[in-house]
């Protein structure tokens, strides 16, 4: 069902966990789907210095979370915002059609985290 790369990310997820003193937190999820994701980011000089995820969900949800952290880490925020759910799925070598709707929220989570970071900055 899943590509080898998806399974590899599922087995060995990158950047799993929580950044305790995060600069931004993004939470997305769809209770219908049983998928929920929390991304915490650390930003320095407009660069995503660190990023960690927690994910409740199926194999695709875990793998896309892991992949998005890899794709985003070290990127400038405006670059990171360009990452789409589709790009994440493509980087994983594709997802099964049934998993394309739900479970592919990782980029949304990243965008939410960056938005949270920016609104915190604005509030300062």
């Amino acid at each position: 069902m899943y590509s080898e790369l998806v399974m590899e990310h599922f087995r060995n997820p990158r950047n799993m966990g929580v950044i305790e003193d995060a600069d931004g937190v993004g939470e997305v999820g769809n209770p219908q789907c049983g998928d929920m994701m929390r991304l915490t980011i650390k930003v320095k000089d407009d660069i995503l210095e660190d990023i960690k995820f927690q994910t409740l969900g199926c194999g695709a949800a875990v793998a896309t979370s892991s992949m998005v952290t890899e794709m985003a880490k070290g990127k400038r925020l405006d670059e990171a915002l360009e990452i789409s759910n589709r790009a994440v799925a493509e980087a994983l070598g594709g997802l099964p059609p049934a998993k394309m709707h739900c479970s592919n929220l990782a980029a949304d989570g990243l965008q939410a985290a960056i938005k949270d970071y920016r609104s915190r900055q604005a509030a300062k």
Binding site: M1, M7, F10, R11, P13, M16, G17, V18, E20, E27, G29, P31, Q32, C33, G34, D35, M36, M37, R38, Q54, T55, L56, G57, C58, G59, A61, V62, P96, P97, A98, K99, C102, S103
Partner: protein
């Protein structure tokens, strides 16, 4: 990967070697079409007839009341669609339960779109239908009651004989989906009081793609498959002779070892539950613990999701499923668990472990050993599991 530990017998089972052996000649040398006149065809016709008689005897039916189908799905669809068509002059109301297999639920949904009315009876927290609810739901225009014998997810065994009394009294035809109970529980169509009953061979160590419908004499039903006049015109299509022969043998073998298998599987299942519940926090049992198929365990683990558990267990060579195994890739929570009153987010964290003939005590002990660390790891990963993290529990 080493040995596979198969704990998904409710999804399908391997064909028993003895069954495959008996099927073999019907593929090659004895390949005649039973609907032909010459000796080669006659041999096939006799094999089909013998299978019919053997199955009929096992379930207390007449041979003419057995109709071979391509599986449980076809039998379920036929019972509902065929009755709906044949009895539409009498009425357009059907009664079923909220926890039926999709083969029943999707079919009644289709009927609803075509102007039929469907009552889906609720179940209690263990998944049991109340026969009194059936009685109350019956109306003058009710043309069918369809309640499954045993549930495929939680293994709950419904009070079919009592429901049969109700339907008999009311004079309403009664169908039961016995796909999960056939070969596991004693089945007697008269004791159960059913007019129609579905089975699928691959659930009891027979081949895939063959099943049957028990159809009580004089039951009004329109054929689902029209054509060459097989099965007395009730179900057309060239007989799947090896499948039919194999199904009869598989049912015979399952019936012979039923009592022993039940005791053994229930003991292993209980050992599994004891071992898991002793080692994992916030783990719950789904379904009724008394009226339950012996080999079925269905549990849920707070804070984590089903598919990720399955994938993790698969890395250890363990096969189990979550929700109803029939819907890969579906992310909808199990309608069965929702019907038990389990909240949506918990329903996603369920695991179905179904034991079978190959299951050993070692398999169970291995499961008890490998599963707790998997739970720990997935909970670490989970944004909603809060026993050991700083955020507040969400649900």
């Amino acid at each position: 990967m080493g040995r596979v530990i198969y704990l998904d017998h409710a999804s399908t089972t391997p064909v028993d070697p003895e069954v495959l052996e008996i099927m073999r000649p019907w593929f090659t040398e004895e390949f005649g079409n039973p609907s032909t006149v010459y000796s080669l065809g006659l041999a096939s016709a006799q094999a089909v007839q013998q299978a019919r008689e053997s199955i009929a005897e096992t379930i207390g039916a007449e041979p003419e009341e057995i109709c071979f189908t391509s599986g449980g799905t076809e039998a379920d669809n036929w019972a509902l669609l065929g009755t709906a068509d044949a009895c539409q002059k009498k009425g357009r109301h059907l009664i079923t339960s909220a926890i039926e297999h999709h083969a029943v639920l999707e079919t009644v949904e289709h009927l609803e779109k075509r102007g039929y009315e469907v009552t889906r009876l609720p179940v209690d927290g263990g998944g049991l239908v109340d026969p009194d609810e059936v009685r109350r739901a019956i109306r003058p225009d009710t043309i069918l009651v369809s309640i499954m014998h045993a549930n495929n997810e939680i293994g709950t065994i419904e009070p079919i004989a009592e429901i049969g009394k109700v339907t008999r009294e009311a004079g309403v035809p009664f169908h039961t989906d016995a796909v999960q109970s056939a070969g596991k529980l004693p089945l007697d169509v008269n004791e159960l009081g059913v007019d129609m009953l579905s089975m699928s061979a691959h659930k009891f160590y027979g081949p895939k793609g063959i099943g049957l419908m028990y159809l009580r004499k004089r039951t009004r039903i329109t054929p689902l498959l029209h054509g060459g006049g097989q099965e007395k015109g009730f179900r057309a299509g060239t007989h799947n002779v090896p499948g039919i022969v194999g199904m009869a043998k598989a049912l015979e073998l399952a019936t012979n070892r039923m009592a022993d298998d039940a005791v053994r599987e229930a003991a292993l299942r209980d050992r599994l539950w004891d071992g898991l519940s002793a080692n994992i926090d916030a783990i719950h049992l789904n379904g009724d613990m008394v009226s339950r198929l012996p080999g079925n365990l269905n549990l849920r683990v707070d804070g984590i999701e089903g598919e990720s558990m399955i994938l993790m267990l698969d890395m250890d060579g363990i096969c189990v499923s979550s929700g109803s195994a029939c819907t890969t890739g579906s992310l909808e929570p199990s309608h069965v668990l929702l019907a038990l009153g389990i909240p949506q987010e918990h329903a996603h964290g369920s695991l179905r472990i179904t034991l079978g003939r190959s299951t050993t005590a070692e398999d169970i002990d291995l499961f008890i050993k490998v599963f707790p660390p998997i739970v720990t790891r997935l909970r670490e990963m989970s944004p909603i599991w809060c026993a050991n993290c700083v955020c507040k529990q969400r649900n």
